[in-house]
């Protein structure tokens, strides 16, 4: 593996983390979706690059799935849902932007510490990749935690899954089974979310899950 190969992979994975930060920062819905599309695009590029340097053609499939579904289909359909349901375009955040960013920094640092300390034996590419993937996963979780809006949470969840795909592709020779299943799970996840959003639309006038929160089974 040449130095350049490594650098490019490193760059793409780092970019993914950076875009996660932008997602974390973003507070408008459309912009969030666009950035998510960018996130998925970067993921596709990263996966494709991995396929190239690992000489693993099946990873191109994963890259294609990421490109088609995550970068195009999902953002577009979420866009439509937002328009059709007339959801507020501003996302209410729970914590202030500064606080969120600080927490994000802390998470990235944590994942670096945990990951880099761990894998002395593994090859540096996989190691860096995993560290970045862990960061993306944690940041995705942070996005979910800090948004009140259902669409925002879904986006957080999907960038979390992007981190997973990044990790899976970074693990050299991981069987195809897993990639397909990841893509598959995203698909199913989306279908189910779609059904839910539809049903929720049917019952409530908003996807803001605060409306859902009123029904916590046992009312106070």
């Amino acid at each position: 593996m040449s130095r350049l190969d490594f650098d490019i992979a490193h760059f793409l994975a780092g970019l993914l983390v950076l875009i996660s930060f932008v997602e974390l920062y973003q507070d408008r819905l459309y912009a969030l979706l666009n950035i998510y599309a960018l996130h998925a695009l970067t993921l596709a590029a990263s996966v494709a690059w991995q396929a190239f340097i690992q000489d693993a053609p099946h990873l191109y499939v994963t890259a294609a799935i990421a490109l088609l579904f995550k970068a195009i289909v999902i953002p577009v359909s979420l866009h439509r849902i937002i328009v059709r349901l007339g959801i507020h375009r501003e996302i209410e955040k729970v914590v202030s932007v500064g606080g969120t960013m600080l927490a994000g920094m802390g998470l990235v640092a944590l994942s670096m510490v945990v990951m880099l300390r761990v894998t002395h034996g593994a090859d540096p590419l996989a190691r860096e990749d995993l560290a970045f993937a862990l960061s993306v996963v944690l940041l995705g979780l942070l996005i979910m935690v800090t948004r009140r809006n259902a669409v925002g949470q879904v986006v957080g969840f999907m960038s979390l899954e992007n981190g997973l795909v990044l990790a899976a592709t970074g693990a050299k020779g991981m069987p195809l089974v897993v990639e397909i299943s990841v893509a598959f799970s995203i698909l199913i996840a989306f279908i189910v979310i779609g059904i839910f959003l539809f049903r929720i639309r049917e019952r409530f006038d908003t996807v803001d899950i605060r409306a859902l929160d009123r029904f916590r089974g046992e009312r106070r």
């Binding site: 996963v137 979390l160 189910v192 049903r199 019952r203």
Partner: protein, 479 residues
């Protein structure tokens, strides 16, 4: 591939799911559902006699045979129970025929997914199966389409998805740890190969993997800080699904956790998984025990009781050693049987009283003696009173813990007593006293409930030596 018991427990539910999705008519499909689960149970039982060799994807050993038979049995009895339950739901109009068709198909998909998770020899396949089981139950929990049901399903979906994502990350990390040793490709995900070579894995990577797996599958088990989906999913879904969730799905997730625990135990450098499981188990136990006190919904209360018992089981497996593992296995079996029996009873109770609110029930033993006393017996069993089976397993857990870690045992006993008091406090107002609420007619089938309770009672009084030897053998495998 030739037809053997392993393919049997997978093919039968899968085929039945396809068939049930295609066929109309409640009576026929409900009976077909029972027939399919019967067939699955027979296949599962044959595992005791003849067992296919482990392949790259499927595996049958002593550990998962126990789980498969338990799953098939409770799946079978629950299908018998749902026969009368769903009939009533159709009559009252809470469910419409298309939904019933969907329900039956999903039931079989759920059975398929659980069996797949149990027989999978590939950690990736296992993950896929558990994910499938989760998605199926999400759909079933939301089937009533009330506000509460949708909210519960949504909550379950979100929390479950996050859990499953964490579990996938852990699986990838296990693969990463295995790759340098076992070699690239499929082999590095085959559990039987992993466990023999686990000695040479990078311990630090395994530790990290276990943290993710513990949180990921722990969400499915319903351990304390991750439990939030469980009470609502139990309370708002159809009762047969509550029974299967509590009795089986939690076990399946725990089984996955156990597989990885064995992996870590085989590696001398890795951190002992025990303390983490012990801590989470105790936390769940004590937390759930306190939560029992302020419950107003009967199904939600028993859901918390499930959390409590999963805490005990996780604690026992975390303690490790043949005796504690034995106790954990026994407790798991007993809890599955008892809790599903309780949900059978609760399902009918909710139907005759037309509510799930504890405040609107009362004097059940007077208005519906069979149902009421069945529920009382179930609660007595689940509270861990002699001479029923859970007493034996709890006694074993407590006594084996006292010998090794008296301080932990004190916390354990404290939690158990708090839980017991909480359960009886509520039971008192449900089963005894002045009859309250409407006293509808029952068209219940009591057979599944009393069959379970009878098994629990027999196990509490007399365990056949063969069964004890079997459990000891499995407990030894767990290390």
């Amino acid at each position: 591939m030739t037809f053997d018991a392993l393919t049997g427990v997978l093919v039968v539910p899968a085929a039945a799911a396809a068939l049930l999705a295609a066929l109309p008519g409640y009576r026929l499909t409900a009976r077909l559902n029972v027939a399919a689960t019967t067939l699955t149970l027979l296949c599962a039982l044959s595992l005791f006699f003849k067992r296919p060799h482990a392949g790259a994807y499927l595996l049958a050993d002593d550990l998962n045979s126990t789980f498969i038979v338990l799953t098939a049995f409770v799946g079978f009895t629950t299908s018998v129970f749902s026969l009368s339950y769903i009939g009533h739901e159709l009559e009252t109009g809470r469910l419409t025929p298309p939904f019933v068709r969907f329900y039956h198909a999903m039931y079989q998909v759920l059975m398929f997914a659980m069996n797949l998770a149990l027989v999978a020899n590939n950690i990736g396949l296992m993950w896929v199966a558990i994910e499938l089981a989760t998605l199926t139950t999400v759909l079933m929990v939301g089937i009533y389409r009330t506000h509460e049901a949708l909210e519960a399903a949504w909550k379950y979906f979100i929390l479950g998805s996050v859990g499953i994502a964490l579990a996938l990350f852990g699986t990838i990390l296990v693969y990463m740890a295995a790759r340098p040793v076992v070699g690239e490709g499929l082999n590095a995900m085959v559990w039987t190969l992993l466990v023999t070579r686990a000695r040479d894995f990078d311990p630090a990577l395994l530790n990290l993997a276990f943290v993710f797996l513990l949180l990921g599958y722990g969400t499915k088990v319903g351990l304390a800080p991750l439990h939030a989906w469980l009470p609502d999913a139990h309370a708002e879904g159809p009762t047969p699904i509550s029974a299967v969730l509590s009795g089986l799905l939690l076990n399946v997730a725990l089984y996955a956790l156990l597989r990885f625990k064995m992996l870590l135990a085989a590696n001398p450098g890795a951190l002992a998984p025990g303390p983490l499981m012990v801590a989470l188990g105790l936390l769940s136990l004590v937390f759930a025990a306190f939560m029992l006190y302020r419950r107003r919904d009967i199904k939600r209360m028993f859901a918390y009781s499930s959390i409590e018992h999963m805490g005990i089981i996780t604690f026992a497996f975390g303690m490790g050693g043949p005796l504690a593992n034995f106790a954990g296995l026994l407790h798991m079996t007993m809890h599955s049987l008892t809790k599903s029996a309780i949900f059978f009873a609760v399902g009918h109770v909710a139907q005759v009283k037309n509510t799930q609110r504890i405040a609107d029930m009362g004097g059940l033993t007077e208005t519906h003696p069979v149902l009421g006393w069945g529920l009382v017996l179930g609660v007595v069993a689940i509270a861990g009173l002699p001479p029923l089976g859970i007493f034996m397993s709890e006694f074993l857990v407590v006594s084996s813990t006292f010998a090794r870690a008296p301080l932990l045992a004190m916390v354990l006993v404290f939690g158990l007593l708090i839980g017991l008091a909480g359960l009886f406090l509520r039971l008192n107002s449900i089963a005894f006293g002045e009859p309250r609420g409407p006293a509808g007619k029952t068209q219940a089938s009591y057979v599944p409930m009393f069959a379970h309770l009878a098994l629990v009672l027999i196990a509490g009084i007399y365990m056949p030596p063969a069964l004890v030897a079997w459990f000891y053998n499995v407990a030894g495998l767990l290390g």
